[in-house]
Symmetry: D2
Subunit: 343 residues, 4 copies
């Protein structure tokens, strides 16, 4: 069975996912697209086998030849399209953020629970990265004992001048927020933001770098270096420190070159190079699940809600001294238990 | 457009490729299968969406719903099925060896030239491995200057007791033979086999390890450690030594773990773990090319022929002192020039 | 010229330094020793060429055949012996801490200034480690731009049950305190202590691990994971994050081993294995300077004073929320400027 | 007790050893020097504490204030000075080669046996390198099982135009010859030279690179890439392949740097940088042994003889096809058994 997918929003990421669903993932076909820029929608459609071009996202969702929906439109529109997909009873993959406010995320959670079936998946692709998966397996195996600390770094060569410190927390830190919740199988309960000496590469008021610290339910501390103008490349580091050992993401080079310049490897240029394989796996597993008639098993509406609440906490922490709390509603039974680290 | 594939031979590798074409590769569908073991063919078919089960390979090749053929049957049958596919004018992917004798390979080359269109691709998957591709790019970029030496190792945890030294040359060394021809863009002209102290893990008369040395047209020397009972894992090493630098395959671990046992990574357990991504890329590119109406661009019938002739040379060298020549026919213009290293 | 050294305190470290001065360092001779345990002093003396055994540290300092003094006695006695050495006009190497209180350290600083000659060196051996020296050189070269963040980890397999959280700050964190001041060429002005989930390996009230954060004059933030019961080995990590790059301590293995257990290296068992070469260099340079008639150029009395004040700040921070200030007197001109990072 | 050393030959290496004995090694003093260039001898003496400057090597050897002799003069003079040192009953450290012909080496062996005491040590410093020592320990521990193959590379940035292929075998390959004999605890019995495509960096008739293959008594094969114009740095690689695992020299960087140029480390610029620590250990152990009244335990006259015979075999192999034999006299009982690998 081929899963017929409708895509709402064909900007850079939307187009890339259309390419992925058309040419990389097995068992999928993009049958409908739309975009606020109709001309662009038409061009992209022409490039990828001519899916129907609709005037609105609502039409895409309701189209008879659409089995599942991908939402890659502007963030403020996510809530509407995800709710409409739930209403239509169709699986929906929504790029992060699930919605731009915690309240909107919570409305989605409520709607999904009301519908009684897990239809929503949020685009936290790191959970599909070979390195993060190996870290999680190592934790679950008990190889390093119970995790106590996680050290992270999120380094980016450059960001546009328009990017603010809050924007970095919302758009970049959110990835560590999700992946750390998933690695540890528990919620973040408080955050604080430390402000190192500013880089001369930082424009305007941007606090770059930052160190965000997360505290989880059981007390694990996570320090996350957010550094978005480091120039040298896109460098994602992660190290889990346990009671008996540590595990960290490797450098991921496929070759090592030695010349007069030294011996070593390259750093990825950007997030696409770094996470291309993770995106591919993410979509293959999503399509496979739908084809098999299973409920969504990836990052859930709850995860999207929790990530947004923690991000809000980070923004609050940015504007005060000390810790900001994270106030989550109780996790609904509907979402089951998170994986528990048994070590 | 979905490419409809017929698969001849559903042993372990055949079944794995059916899985790959059905569930991993975009744009392909397995529509016909056959096997000498009809029951097995039926079982595998049932597992993967129910393609037609045919009594013979010839029927698969001729089936109206088959656009392209995959040959993964017993080696001695390859020639027949590849020739029949050419006869039928259908693209054919043949697992190595292309055929079991140089003469048979040459008949395939002749048939393909007569047909006037590149239809044949041989399953040398290493050309699709990220590491080997990065090595080739590094050579082409001129980063390390002209290649002068290549150091290889092909280490396997264990082989069945029935495996002979000739078998290791035919089945294992052939991979380095192909990938080195491709990396360097030139032919191997002579081979010699050095015989180190035998491993106590080697059974019967098996010479394990061996060091095979290849000499190319321009004089590059390639030493290849073949070591098929090293127990610790499946470990493929490759290092190209140039005039100004060296480039080598990295270890490929996604994480590094530190415990009381030390700091480091794992070695792949077997060839499937090591080259799974290469196989996926190999088939995706093959399918994409067919869907786009292009001639085959992967390892060609010529490459299959050359690999077999070089393997024959290695077997001859195994039974004598010194060097054995490699006597290839002239490369037909039909196959174009190999990539030339310009550094 | 051979430098004749008197050693006060022949416990484990004192004996090791006597061995080093006798058998590793060129141009030195241990001519006098003492210890509160006279019997032990006699035994050690007999083992290393029979230096004079004195009843008191004061006698060692005043001995005519002693050109320079090493103080490796119990911490509370350091002040007395260092002051006496200054009084005697003899170069003195004092293991950390310089003295157990900031006031005592300051008295030593004052005495040294009054004497008008740099005679005091404190045993912060990390400044002599090849890795830290390469980090400093990389900073000075401007390779990574101005440092903004330093990530450190100080991991120890186990500590005695008697060790307290304050003890870890005083005995372990002090090494990062000194080496970071030296790497960055500036003072630490505030500290805070974060308390992760406790390891089950931690005994009693010990907070293990801790994350101490230091802030320097220019705003650089340093996070230091102190983790003294991690079992797997003695593992010192350090990474300097600059505006344009990062530099970190390598693993330092001399070989890589691949077996069924994986591929990788070993972690040092303890501080002696990790820093043996640094100790050797530290003493060779100290002796060379004395032989050349130069003033002490290693970690100074000021550095010993600053380290103690910062350590006091950490202990204060441990018992409160948020940051604790570091209140240093002004750096006397006598000690010159620290190396300034010019990038 | 201070060992008083006389040094014959104060060229670059001689001067460096004088510096080492004067300023790095504990327990040694250079008391006498000589050189064919008397002016140079005087200058170096003035720089290092003013040892006596003698007119001849014989005078140095016979000087009453000389306990031990270092021979770092021109190769053709080695035999004379080593024999004279034996005659004088004084320990003698001779830089490689022990002598320039096998016959001369054998005369030294005979003289030493006649004298009844091991006085001669040859300067094969790799045995003192931390990496090679760890390789040997790994072999002895049985971690990788019995060694079957050793892969080596000896890469040098450049050599003077005057260097010949024979010169590379005599001066460079000799290091792998010695260290492999020592690692494996057995003799080399045959050699062959393979000639890859020549580097454009090779001047005149120089065959660069070469691959020399050694066969040992038990059948272990050693391939050694000799590559003396690779420009990028001085890079010594060594990998021992055993029945159950492999062990190889690590890169030895003390830090890892990441910038826009990539992530990695540096390659040593030359042999001095690479082996400085090995030289220091070599001389410290030599001096310690003499001070303790022990016979020489480092590379022996026998090792110097064997290295020369194997080198001769390589030169013969260079001028013929196939293998050249190594014809050693029987190992005299005087030199004991080599370490035997028990795995």
């Amino acid at each position: 069975m081929t899963v017929r997918v409708g895509v709402i929003g064909v900007g850079m990421i939307g187009e890339d996912h259309i390419r992925r669903l058309s040419r990389v993932v097995a068992g999928a076909q993009v049958t409908a697209v739309t975009d606020v820029n109709a001309e662009r929608a038409g061009k992209v459609a022409a490039q990828f086998g001519g899916p129907d071009v609709h005037a609105t996202g609502q039409q895409v969702i309701n189209a008879a030849n659409v089995d599942a929906v991908v939402v890659t439109s502007w963030g403020p529109t996510h809530e509407e399209y995800v709710l409409a997909s739930i209403e239509a009873g169709k699986p929906v993959f929504c790029e992060k953020p699930l919605a731009t406010t915690a309240e909107a995320c919570w409305r989605i959670v409520q709607a999904e629970i009301a519908c009684g079936r897990r239809l929503v998946q949020v685009g936290f692709m790191r959970r599909y990265d070979a390195g993060y998966r190996a870290l999680k397996q190592t934790i679950l195996d008990g190889t390093i004992g119970a995790p106590l600390i996680v050290h992270c770094a999120h380094r980016n060569p450059a960001v546009p001048d328009s990017v603010t410190s809050e924007g970095v927390l919302i758009d970049s830190a959110v990835h560590e927020i999700d992946v750390v919740r998933w690695l540890l199988g528990e919620e973040i309960v408080a955050t604080t933001v430390l402000k190192p000496k500013r880089s001369k590469n930082a424009v305007g008021d941007l606090q770059d770098p930052m160190i965000v610290v997360f505290q989880t339910e059981s007390g694990v501390l996570v320090d996350d270096e957010l550094h978005v103008n480091i120039r040298y490349g896109y460098d994602i580091r992660g190290e889990v420190v346990g009671e008996y050992g540590v595990a960290r993401l490797a450098d991921g080079n496929s070759i090592e070159v030695t010349t007069a310049a030294g011996r070593g490897g390259k750093v990825p240029a950007d997030w696409r190079e770094r996470f291309v394989a993770a995106y591919d796996v993410e979509f293959q597993e999503w399509i496979d699940g739908i084809a098999a008639g299973q409920e969504a098993s990836g990052p859930s509406a709850w995860d999207g809600y929790a990530a947004t609440v923690v991000t809000d906490s980070c923004v609050a922490a940015y504007h005060k001294d000390g810790w900001a709390e994270v106030s989550l509603f109780d996790r609904p039974d509907f979402y089951g238990k998170q994986a528990t680290v048994t070590a």
